[in-house]
């Protein structure tokens, strides 16, 4: 054993809002079901079963693209007020903020892209309702999932360094023991619940995604429990015909929800376009808290399930969004 050291060059000032214990995560993963069992249930059952008040949740990809909106709406309907989570979102993050569901956030980008700043999140942070915001870059958040997915306490990175983004994070920088140069260490993020929308899944939770996969695979593997919503439920034989198309394997997954148009008003690559009118209408009103509440009342609290939501949107509207050809 040597008595050598490496210097810690810098440390972000924020505590980990979700501390991790890799051996406890291993024990949790060991106990998960390994047999092929039917995990189908409704949005309501899945959220009730796996999301407890105060727990740490992640929602995959951007809120207008392959986003589990039916599950997001159910999260809001259930009335959580103190969730903690990871903010790398657009529409779904804005809705959660509008409904005052979140208390602490690991934050990278929460905005509305072409529509600008997220009004609800601004209100949440500026009013102090959201009590803690820890800063990260997009890559850093993805690598935090990746570290947990690898089962290791951190991954090194060459971003974040030298900035206030680093200072207000929980990252550290050390002198690399191989090169002697500074390198950032991005700590693992083990989520309590990961929520992901996919193109296809079987009832056991084997999932396929068409096109880009965002951070679906990494977040699924970083989560203690994974709730999947899928546009289509397919037979396991379909999965077995092309196992190289499986992006999330069944053993990571705890609940499978059949949610056609589950990303509405967002898009689903190859299946349907986003509902620009619906989104624009929301955003135009989102700077006004009263109008935002009206939106929540109509589209979330006013419906009991995803099926009811789809009826409210209307079949004609939904059909008009469908992509006819590839």
């Amino acid at each position: 054993m040597s008595e050598k050291h490496v210097r810690i060059l810098d440390e972000g000032i924020a505590p980990l809002i979700q501390p991790f214990d890799l051996d406890e995560f291993r024990a949790h993963n060991r106990a998960k079901e390994k047999a092929l069992v039917d995990k189908r249930m409704s949005e309501s059952e899945a959220i009730s079963k796996f999301v407890t008040e105060g727990c740490y949740v992640g929602i995959e990809l951007y809120g207008t693209v392959r986003c589990p909106m039916s599950l997001t709406r159910e999260l809001i309907r259930k009335g959580y007020k103190k969730l903690r989570g990871v903010g790398q979102g657009v529409f779904e993050a804005d809705l959660l903020a509008a409904a005052n569901c979140m208390k602490e956030l690991d934050w990278t980008y929460i905005g509305l892209e072409v529509y600008g700043v997220s009004s609800s999140l601004r209100r949440g942070v500026e009013s102090g309702y959201i009590e803690r915001v820890v800063e990260w870059s997009n890559a850093a958040i993805a690598w935090r999932f990746k570290a947990a997915a690898m089962g290791v306490p951190f991954v090194p990175a060459r971003t974040m360094l030298g900035t206030d983004t680093f200072k207000y994070s929980s990252a550290k920088a050390i002198e690399c023991p191989f090169t002697g140069k500074p390198v950032a260490l991005i700590p693992a993020l083990v989520l309590d619940v990961g929520i992901i929308h996919v193109h296809r899944a079987d009832k056991h939770g084997n999932c396929q995604i068409d096109g880009i996969t965002g951070f679906a695979a990494e977040m699924a593997a970083a989560s203690k429990n994974v709730i999947i919503s899928a546009e289509e439920i397919v037979d396991t034989d379909e999965i077995r015909k092309a196992p190289d198309q499986t992006v999330i394997p069944y053993y990571l997954v705890d609940a499978v929800i059949h949610a056609p148009f589950g990303s509405h008003p967002g898009e689903m690559g190859g299946l349907y376009e986003r509902d620009e009118e619906h989104i624009k209408n929301y955003f135009d009103n989102s700077s006004d808290p009263t109008k935002t509440k009206d939106y929540l009342d109509k589209w979330i609290y006013g419906v009991g399930s995803h099926e009811e939501y789809l009826r409210l949107v209307g079949t004609d509207r939904l059909e008009s969004l469908r992509i006819k050809e590839r």
Binding site: E135, S137, N138, G162, G214
Partner: protein
């Protein structure tokens, strides 16, 4: 201004497009960068390769994306992967150009997209880093596109979201950021600016058509380096404007 052949956004798109070299890669965010890259592809840089942070590489941009993860970002693409893969390619040195905007920029090109005021009790909460910090850390050349005012061009940003040259020469390398990277151009409604190689401070490179140096100075909250020779940006050509309006953004999403 004398005539309205083009608006300020169109001008900035053309200037950003001209800054890109053919046979390189560009990390594309939503909006102006998208249009600039697409215009460059159709003008002098047919082999400019677009990369989107959520996984799309080599798309044919028949329709402009509305989000950095939408299906247009991998439309007829060469490679549809995910965010880790793209960010790691950038970290490995594969991405030449990155585009950034922000609420504030300082003389070293540091950007703020996080908060105005104090972090923990902000006056204004902004969207945050997103991929900005990663782009600014790992791309070889970052091009900032911003409206120039003395409220946004400030001596010190409230929060360094994305690294420019940090506190000056050598400070990126000292912090551990990859060698040879950093701010390359700032494209504004008034001028194109670059960074003086020795001091790494912002310098006037060329004035926009009709803009004066005094206007540029007045719209900057710190002292700019004024070189003996200042260029003059060419106006958007008819061809640039035609392509921009009829081909690049034919759905009129952005311009």
């Amino acid at each position: 201004m004398a005539e309205c052949r083009y608006n300020g956004t169109e001008l900035m798109i053309c200037l950003a497009a001209r800054a890109m070299v053919d046979r390189t890669t560009a990390f594309i965010g939503t909006g102006v960068p998208m249009l600039a890259a697409s215009l460059a592809q159709r003008m002098h840089a047919p082999s400019l390769m677009p990369v989107f942070e959520f996984g799309g590489t080599g798309a044919i941009l028949e329709k402009l994306p509305l989000a950095v993860g939408d299906m247009r970002t991998y439309n007829k693409g060469l490679y549809a992967s995910g965010i880790c893969d793209i960010m790691e390619a950038a970290q490995r040195g594969f991405i030449e150009y990155g585009f950034l905007g922000g609420a504030q920029i300082d003389p070293f090109g540091n950007l703020n997209t996080t908060v105005i005021g104090n972090h923990d009790k902000p006056k204004v909460r902004l969207p945050g880093s997103g991929g900005g910090n990663d782009v600014g850390s790992t791309c070889w050349r970052t091009i900032m596109i911003m409206r120039q005012t003395n409220r946004s061009f400030v001596p010190k940003v409230d929060f360094v979201t994305t690294p420019g040259f940090l506190t000056g020469p050598g400070s990126r390398e000292k912090a551990g950021l990859p060698a040879g990277t950093g701010p390359y151009r700032v494209v504004t409604n008034l001028a194109t600016l670059d960074f003086e190689p020795e001091s790494k401070r912002m310098r006037v490179l060329a004035l926009n058509p009709q803009a004066t140096l005094d206007e540029v100075k007045a719209a900057t909250g710190f002292e700019l380096i004024i070189p003996p020779q200042i260029g003059r940006n060419e106006e958007p050509t008819d061809e640039e404007l035609r392509i921009l309006r009829e081909e690049v953004d034919k759905e009129k999403l952005y311009i």
